[in-house]
Symmetry: C2
Subunit: 440 residues, 2 copies
């Protein structure tokens, strides 16, 4: 086969990066694949903006269905985002036996099962390396490189925007709002960056990762998520005094008959390799039962890294198309499905150490009342920091607990809220020691 | 296809790890592949040692050729090591169209071209994930995950033994000899650990990596290598005072028409992510022109991690065998070869900063003489440390230079050796800032 034709739906940031690589590295890619890869058609509603790429106007169209109906197009690349139209286009392409590449984590997290099934039924392959970790080939590593392992633990810094904001809050004591403004100004965040900072984006990515790691679709809605928007530079300083860095982590663990999966701000030991992943970088730390601890680190977003991941999928599919191979590796890398949907353990069963920052009224006996309520709920205190009083009415009381049940923590915090000694909702950060654990 | 049969040559550490995974994860692997993988035959000269695995005696043989001649065996796994017999077996297996998996970096570095060619001619696939980086799927990441990139820079900590020794010298000021003894006692090093500490093992691995990254076999003998055996804890302390950690690095850079490739002790900035890779861990830092900087980190050796890499190759080949695919990804991941053999730039053309530790006689005017000779050769000094004199006759003079040509350094050190002011060979450590550079 001389040429393999690609159609691209969505000519925004990632679409432009993808086309740029396919053009700039045309010869190198042809040498790797053994066939030339041609960008035959690009669909986007905006045909006017100059993307700075030598693309003929005749390649562009406003109608994505032209790509799906073009019998000469082998690979459809969906880079438009969103979950309604994108889903429609992907399912239509798969139905016609076209291979599909997508970077759409929201779509895979929320409608993955339907898409994976359609790919298998139609003998089409689905590439989604770009959906998690930008240029880091983590999807492929789970599907192939670590295929001999049961994955015991996965800890990801999967949202570069949040990590940039937390890094600025840590290194330069910027308040949350300032760090967000800066991230928006630098183009690291949307305005407003809701899905980045509230944990949704990281949870989408975690849903994709655990589906591959454990071989079954995960129900996105059962993944607990909490954002970084209530953290202050003070929390980061207190965490540092306890020996921890604060990161927005996506955490998954194999519990045998269930999976733990949650996204929230967490304290990681300062000497853990994840504590040193800063700025817009992403990292995935994982432990395989044979391969042991691993780390993958790289740029988690952006035109060039994400384009690199999209094109790696195109190359992979082109190699298969050239040899007429179908269904070499199923979407979730399991030829025989093992489970229906992954069972995710409710977060209230979690056993964890906790950081609490109470905003307490400045009155004698408050600390005793707080610790009394905690004790009643079997939450024992490991360490307390009570700083000198400021001009404000409220004073912070900061605690690190021994391991406690999340359920008890929820009850204790609710009970404390009913007393008149706290002036604001308590800030909670779970501690993540970053190792495989065996809690029950 | 119901079953895929594997024959294993070499039942030592990695062979046992491989068999253990194939047995313990039999069901999980069958689910991933869609076919059962059966260990049909294992060849080893030692049939007596109990490997603690439930393997029937009838599976074992002393004659590796029984595996190669068995028409029912699909995949031959060579884990015996060495370059003579192993080469013979691998070529014989490929000639019969059998797929081959090997962990043998020495063989690939020294005779890769012949083996890669034979695989392609016979339509057989060759897996060698286990040859570099233990359980880290770096080979697959280069062949597939980063296939959209030109690799600009690769910096590897590829030899766990050396890294363990340097870590002990750094963290506990152990002399080199003590650290080596400890590594041997702990099973991290052979006795004597010559190929580990002299840079040969890391250079073998670098040869394999650059062959894939640049798509052509590298001539192993043209890779410069220098070991860690002349370093002392003092060198590590001095390096620390200059802001650097000392690591045995394997370094490669794309120079356009040539490749830079060298293995030697190097000083890396303390805040570079590579400076914090300690103990028996391996790491590969690389920069792709689109994906940007990346790090892969994990256990670089051992029964379980290396077994994980071997089995990942077996799974990958089994998926292809099941569908009757041949030559999906050629050994060097280039369907069209682009170059004959990689041209490696002679190390004397290197432009680098240097650390020198001169052992000088304790006489006035020595520093002036040394700097005079360096200046004559265009080597300018950035910083000097001269510590208080001890009881010994010789005093150390430690310098960090600005960038200088390796050729000039060699000439200057030779000239200094002819004077009567130095009492021992000068210790040289090249500085590696860990970024892509553009020297000419």
């Amino acid at each position: 086969m001389e040429k393999i034709n690609v159609g691209i739906i969505g000519f925004g940031t990632v679409g432009s990066g993808t086309v740029q690589i396919l053009l700039e590295h045309k010869e190198m890619i042809a040498n790797r694949v053994g066939s030339e890869i041609v960008v035959k058609r690009i669909a986007d509603l905006d045909l006017e903006t100059d993307r700075g790429l030598p693309i003929s106007k005749t390649v562009l169209t406003k109608d994505a269905m032209e790509i799906i109906h073009d019998p000469e197009i082998h690979i459809v690349v969906e880079l438009m985002g969103g979950t309604v139209k994108a889903k429609e286009y992907i399912l239509a392409a798969l139905k016609r036996g076209k291979h599909v590449v997508t970077a759409n984590k929201a779509l895979l997290a929320e409608h993955g099962q339907e898409i994976y099934q359609s790919a298998e039924e139609n003998g089409a392959s689905l590439g989604f390396e770009a959906s998690v970790g930008g240029g880091i080939p983590i999807i492929r590593s789970l599907k192939e490189g670590l295929s001999a392992n049961r994955i015991k633990t996965m800890i990801g810094i999967l949202n570069g925007t949040s990590n940039y904001i937390l890094t600025r809050m840590t290194q330069d004591s910027l308040p949350y709002e300032k760090a967000v403004e800066e991230a928006i100004a630098l183009g690291y965040a949307e305005d407003p960056p809701t899905l980045d900072v509230d944990g949704t984006d990281a949870a989408h990515k975690l849903a994709v990762l655990i589906s591959i790691a454990f071989g079954a679709p995960a129900s996105f809605n059962t993944i607990f998520r909490e954002g970084i928007d209530r953290l202050t530079p003070d929390d980061i300083v207190f965490a540092g005094e306890f020996g921890y860095a604060v990161k927005l982590l996506a955490i998954a663990r194999d519990l045998g008959d269930m999976v733990e999966a949650r996204v929230h701000p967490a304290m990681v030991p300062l000497d853990h390799i994840m504590a040193n992943v800063n700025g817009a970088y992403n990292a995935i730390y994982l432990e395989g039962d044979f391969a042991g601890p691993h780390l993958y680190y790289g740029l988690g977003a952006g035109k060039r890294p994400t384009g690199s991941a999209v094109v790696s999928d195109i190359i992979c599919l082109a190699r298969q198309i050239r040899l007429g191979v179908k269904n070499l590796i199923p979407p979730l890398a399991h030829a025989r499905s093992t489970a229906g949907t992954l069972r995710i353990r409710p977060v209230d069963e979690l056993l964890s150490s906790y950081y609490f920052r109470f905003s307490a009224v400045d009155r004698p006996g408050v600390l005793s009342k707080v610790s009394g309520v905690l004790g009643k709920h079997d939450i024992s205190i490991y360490s307390v920091i009570q700083k000198g009083r400021g001009k404000d009415r409220a004073v912070p009381i900061v605690m690190l607990t021994h391991e406690a049940r999340e359920r008890s923590v929820i009850q204790a915090l609710r009970e404390l809220d009913q007393l008149d000694i706290l002036t604001d909702r308590t800030v909670t950060i779970r501690v993540e020691e970053g190792k495989e654990r065996h809690d029950s």
